[in-house]
C-alpha cells in the first residue's frame, strides 16, 4: 500500500506543478487571476506531496518490501539500516526522486521569501520553477517509476546495494551534489523572469546573487565529497579521473563560478547584463546535460546506472526545450541591446571579464573532451576515448593564468585602478612569495617548472589577500561578510592549487607483490606486511591485511586494508587502509592473493592530497558566508518598508 500511496502523491504533485506553472507564467492573463493567489500554496503543496512520496520509498526500503522492483534491486535484508535508508538514492529511480525532492525544497524556501520581490516577477520565478519541476516529475512517473511492483514474482530477498555505495559517502554526496545541480535552477528561473518582465537590471542581479552563491557552495561541496569518496572507496588512490560523470558535475560548476562573478559586476556596475543572463541559462542547462550523461549511459563511466535509451531521449528532449525556450526568450528580449563599456584595463571589471573568459574556455575544453566520443562515433562510426593528458594539457595553463589574475584581485577597484596602487600591493608581496614558493619547491622531487610556478602563484595569492585583509582591518574594524566570503574562497582556491600541484607530481605509487613478513620501502617509510586474516562484517566477509608502517622518525602505525566479499551479491570490493594527515596520506590497498600467503599490494604516499578538498571546503564556506551578508537582509527591510508605504498610500 505504501508504495502506491507514494506514487499517488507524486502524481498529485505533478498536478500541482502544472497548476502553479500556469498560474505563475500566466500571471497577466485575466482569467487566471483567481489561480494566481494560490501559487505559493501550490508550491508548498508540491513539496509536501513529493516529501510523502519520498518517505514512502524510504519506508519501503526500511521495511524490506521487495515486491517493489526498485527496492529489490538495490537493497537486501542484511543491509545495515543506515544504508537501507541511503539506498533510497542508490540507483537511478530513487536518486531522481531525491532530485525532485531537493528541487521542491528549493522552491519551498524560495516561496517563503516572496516579500523580497515584486509580486509579478516572483510569480514568474515560481512559475518557471514549477514547469521545470513538472518536467522532472513526469520523467520519474513515465520513465523511471521507483514504485513499480513485481507482483506476483516477488523475490524472497533483494539483490543488494552495490558495495561501493555502502558507505558514508553515499549518504551525503548525492544530496549535496543535487542541491547544487538543482539549485542552479533558481538563478535560471530568475533570469527567465527578468527576461519576461524586461527588467534585466542591478536589482535582478542582487536578488539572484544569494541563491546562486548558495547553489554554488552546495555544488562545490558535492564535487569535493565525490572526489574524496572516489579516493578512499575505489581503492585506486586517485581523486579525479576526468570521467564523463565527474565532468558532468564540473561543467555546471565552472559556469556557476563564472556566473557568481559576472553577477557581482552586474549588481555593482550594471554591465555584463546579457552575458550574466547567458551564463545563468548555461549553468542550469549544463546541470541537465549532466543528468543526461549520467542517466542515459551514452558514455563509458565509472558511474553505472542501468542503460535505458528511452530515458536518455526524454532528458534530451527536455534539455532541448529548456535551452531552446530560454535562448529564444533571450534572443527576443536582449538582441540589439548595446552595452555601455566604461572601464579601463586595470579595473575590477576587466579582471572579472578575464576570470569569465578563462572559466568559459575551461568549460569548453571539458565539454569538448566529454562529448567528442559521441560526436566522433556519430560522424565516423568509430569508437574513441579521450585520454587524461588532453584535459591536463589545457587545465594546467588555464588554472595558472586564473591564479595570476587572482593575485591582483585585492588591489583592483571598480572602473579604474592606478598602476601605483596595484604595484604597491602585488610587487611588495612578490619577493616573499618567490622565497616561500622557491623554498617549498626545493623540497620537492622530482622537480618541475610548473610546480614552481603553481607554488609561487599560490603563495602570492595568499599574501596579497592577507595584506588586503590587514590593511582593511586597520582602517575599519568590521568588514562585510561578503568580503570575508570572497577572501576565504580565493584562499581556498590557492590551497587547492597547491594540493593539486604537489599531490599530482610528488606522490609515490607502488604496486608490489608482498609475502608475509616482507618489508618494502615506500619513499622514506618502511612497510611491513604481517599477513592476512579473516574478518566478518555485518553483511560481508573480509580478508584483512595487516601492515606496519614505520616513519623515518621511527614512529610506526598500523593499516588494515580489506578485501570484502559481500554475502548477498557475491561482489568483491577493496576497502583501502588510509592514514590521513594534513601534510600527507599513507594509503594501502589489497589487490588479489597470489598464492603461498603472498598478495598483490598497492602502496601510496600522497603528500598534500587533502589540501585539494580542504581548499574546496574553504571555497564552499566562502560562498555560504557571502550569502549571509547583511546587505541582502537590509535590502529586504528597505524593500518591505517601501511596499508598506506604497500600500498605505493606496
Amino acid at each position: 500500500m505504501i508504495a502506491e500511496f507514494g506514487q499517488l502523491s507524486l502524481a498529485l504533485s505533478a498536478c500541482l506543478a502544472l497548476a502553479s506553472g500556469i498560474a505563475g507564467l500566466g500571471y497577466h492573463v485575466p482569467v487566471l487571476r483567481s489561480l494566481r493567489a494560490s501559487t505559493v500554496s501550490m508550491v508548498v503543496g508540491q513539496f509536501v506531496f513529493v516529501s510523502i512520496a519520498f518517505v514512502a520509498l524510504v519506508t519501503s526500503f526500511v521495511n524490506d518490501d521487495f515486491s517493489v522492483a526498485y527496492v529489490a534491486n538495490h537493497s537486501n535484508s542484511l543491509l545495515p539500516w543506515q544504508y537501507k535508508v541511503s539506498a533510497t538514492w542508490g540507483g537511478h529511480e530513487g536518486s531522481f526522486l531525491l532530485w525532485i525532492l531537493i528541487m521542491s525544497g528549493w522552491m519551498l524556501v524560495l516561496a517563503t521569501r516572496g516579500v523580497n520581490y515584486p509580486p509579478r516577477f516572483f510569480a514568474r520565478v515560481l512559475g518557471s520553477l514549477s514547469v521545470l519541476n513538472l518536467g522532472f516529475i513526469c520523467f520519474a512517473l513515465f520513465t523511471s517509476n521507483p514504485f513499480e511492483r513485481m507482483i506476483p514474482m516477488t523475490p524472497a530477498d533483494g539483490g543488494d546495494l552495490n558495495p561501493l555505495l555502502q558507505d558514508f559517502g553515499l549518504i551525503v554526496h548525492p544530496p549535496l551534489l543535487y542541491a547544487g545541480y538543482v539549485g542552479l535552477a533558481v538563478p535560471f528561473a530568475f533570469a527567465v523572469a527578468a527576461l519576461m518582465e524586461n527588467r534585466v537590471d542591478a536589482a535582478w542581479a542582487r536578488w539572484s546573487r544569494p541563491w546562486t552563491n548558495f547553489a554554488w557552495a552546495f555544488l562545490t561541496l558535492g564535487i569535493a565529497l565525490g572526489s574524496w569518496w572516489a579516493y578512499y572507496e575505489l581503492g585506486w588512490g586517485g581523486w579525479w579521473f576526468w570521467d564523463p560523470v565527474e565532468n558532468a558535475s564540473f561543467m555546471p560548476w565552472l559556469a556557476a563560478t563564472a556566473l557568481i562573478h559576472s553577477l557581482a559586476v552586474t549588481e555593482k556596475r550594471g554591465t555584463f547584463k546579457s552575458w550574466t543572463l547567458l551564463l545563468a541559462i548555461t549553468a542550469f542547462s549544463l546541470s541537465l546535460l549532466g543528468a543526461f550523461i549520467v542517466r542515459s549511459g551514452v558514455l563509458t563511466s565509472v558511474h553505472a546506472f542501468a542503460v535505458d535509451p528511452e530515458r536518455g531521449l526524454y532528458i534530451l528532449v527536455f534539455l532541448a526545450a529548456v535551452v531552446g525556450g530560454s535562448l529564444t526568450l533571450y534572443a527576443l528580449r536582449v538582441a540589439g541591446r548595446r552595452a555601455e563599456i566604461g572601464f579601463k584595463i586595470l579595473s575590477r571589471e576587466f579582471f572579472m571579464l578575464t576570470n569569465n573568459v578563462i572559466l568559459v574556455v575551461a568549460l569548453a575544453v571539458v565539454l569538448w573532451g566529454t562529448l567528442a566520443p559521441i560526436g566522433y562515433e556519430a560522424l565516423t562510426g568509430d569508437k574513441i576515448s579521450i585520454g587524461v593528458p588532453f584535459f591536463n594539457l589545457f587545465f594546467v595553463p588555464l588554472m595558472l593564468t586564473l591564479a595570476l589574475a587572482l593575485v591582483l584581485v585585492p588591489a583592483l577597484n571598480w572602473k579604474r585602478t592606478s598602476w601605483r596602487a596595484v604595484r604597491a600591493t602585488t610587487l611588495r608581496a612578490l619577493p616573499v612569495a618567490a622565497v616561500l614558493g622557491g623554498v617549498s619547491w626545493y623540497l620537492t622531487s622530482p622537480k618541475s617548472a610548473v610546480v614552481l610556478a603553481a607554488l609561487i602563484l599560490a603563495m602570492w595569492m595568499i599574501l596579497t589577500h592577507t595584506l588586503d585583509v590587514w590593511r582593511r582591518l586597520r582602517r575599519t574594524r568590521s568588514q562585510p561578510l561578503a568580503y570575508w566570503g570572497m577572501t576565504l574562497a580565493h584562499l581556498g582556491f590557492a590551497m587547492t592549487i597547491m594540493g593539486v600541484a604537489i599531490t599530482a607530481t610528488q606522490s609515490i605509487e607502488e604496486d608490489v607483490r608482498m609475502a608475509a613478513d616482507e618489508v618494502v620501502e615506500l619513499g622514506e617509510m618502511q612497510v611491513r606486511f604481517l599477513g592476512v586474516r579473516e574478518v566478518d562484517g555485518p553483511n560481508y566477509r573480509a580478508q584483512q591485511g595487516v601492515f606496519i608502517v614505520t616513519e623515518p622518525s621511527a614512529e610506526s602505525f598500523e593499516l588494515r586494508p580489506e578485501k570484502r566479499q559481500y554475502l548477498a551479491g557475491g561482489n568483491m570490493m577493496t576497502e583501502a587502509g588510509i592514514r590521513g594527515g594534513f601534510l600527507a596520506d599513507t594509503y594501502i590497498s589489497l589487490g588479489e592473493p597470489l598464492g603461498e600467503g603472498a598478495w598483490a599490494v598497492r602502496l601510496h604516499y600522497k603528500p598534500l592530497v587533502r589540501w585539494v578538498w580542504f581548499g574546496a571546503l574553504l571555497m564552499a564556506l566562502g560562498g555560504a558566508l557571502a550569502v549571509t551578508d547583511k546587505r541582502y537582509r537590509r535590502l529586504r527591510e528597505r524593500q518591505s518598508a517601501t511596499d508598506a508605504a506604497a500600500k498605505g498610500a493606496v
Binding site: 552495490n162 561501493l164 581503492g235 549511459g297 551514452v298 558514455l299 563509458t300 565509472v302 558511474h303 553505472a304 546506472f305 542501468a306 542503460v307 574556455v361 569548453a364 575544453v365 569538448w368 573532451g369 567528442a372 566522433y376 568509430d382 569508437k383 574513441i384 576515448s385 579521450i386 585520454g387 593528458p389 588532453f390 594539457l393 589545457f394 604496486d511 608490489v512 607483490r513 551479491g569 561482489n571 568483491m572 570490493m573 577493496t574 589487490g591 588479489e592 597470489l594 598464492g595 598483490a600 598497492r602
Partner: protein, 147 residues
C-alpha cells in the same frame, strides 16, 4: 576610421583569432590524445595499428588468466566468442570486478607479435552495467549464439 570603430574592429579581430586559436588547439590536442577502440576481430586481422595507444575490449576467456609467481605480471586472453582471440600482458593489480567470462576494456599498445601490452585494465563497477563500447559486441555474440 573613427576611434570607436577602430576599437570595435580590434575587438572583433581579437575574438575571431581567439576562437579560431582555441578551436585549433582543441582539435590538435584531441587528435593526439584520442584512443580508438577496436573489437577483437580488428586486433586479430591487422586493422588495429601497432605501437600507438589504443583501446580494445571483449570477454576474458575462461581459463586463460595466468599469474606470474614472482611478480605482478599477468596474461590473459580476450575473445569475442566468434573466433577472434588475442592475448594481453599486464603488470599490476587487476580491478575487483575482473573475472573470467566478464566483459572488459584494456588500454595500451598492440605489439608486433600480436600481444596487447596493457597499461590499464577497466572492468565494470556494477554487475548490470555494460560499457557502451561492448554493447554492440555483446549483442552480436548473443545474436550468433541464438541462431
Amino acid at each position: 576610421m573613427n576611434p570607436k570603430r577602430k576599437t570595435r574592429l580590434y575587438l572583433a579581430v581579437f575574438v575571431v583569432v581567439a576562437v579560431a586559436g582555441t578551436t585549433a588547439a582543441l582539435m590538435l590536442a584531441l587528435e593526439q590524445n584520442m584512443n580508438m577502440f577496436y573489437p577483437p576481430q580488428q586486433i586479430v586481422d591487422g586493422t588495429a595499428p601497432t605501437a600507438t595507444t589504443i583501446r580494445a575490449g571483449g570477454m576474458v576467456k575462461d581459463g586463460s588468466v595466468q599469474r606470474d609467481s614472482q611478480s605482478l605480471a599477468v596474461t590473459f586472453t580476450i575473445t569475442d566468442h566468434l573466433g577472434a582471440d588475442f592475448s594481453v600482458a599486464y603488470t599490476g593489480i587487476l580491478p575487483d570486478l575482473f573475472r573470467e567470462g566478464q566483459g572488459i576494456i584494456v588500454q595500451g599498445e598492440l605489439g608486433g607479435d600480436g600481444v596487447f601490452a596493457a597499461s590499464e585494465v577497466l572492468a565494470k563497477h556494477d554487475e548490470n552495467y555494460m560499457p557502451p563500447e561492448l554493447i554492440d559486441l555483446a549483442a552480436e555474440i548473443e545474436g550468433n549464439s541464438g541462431s
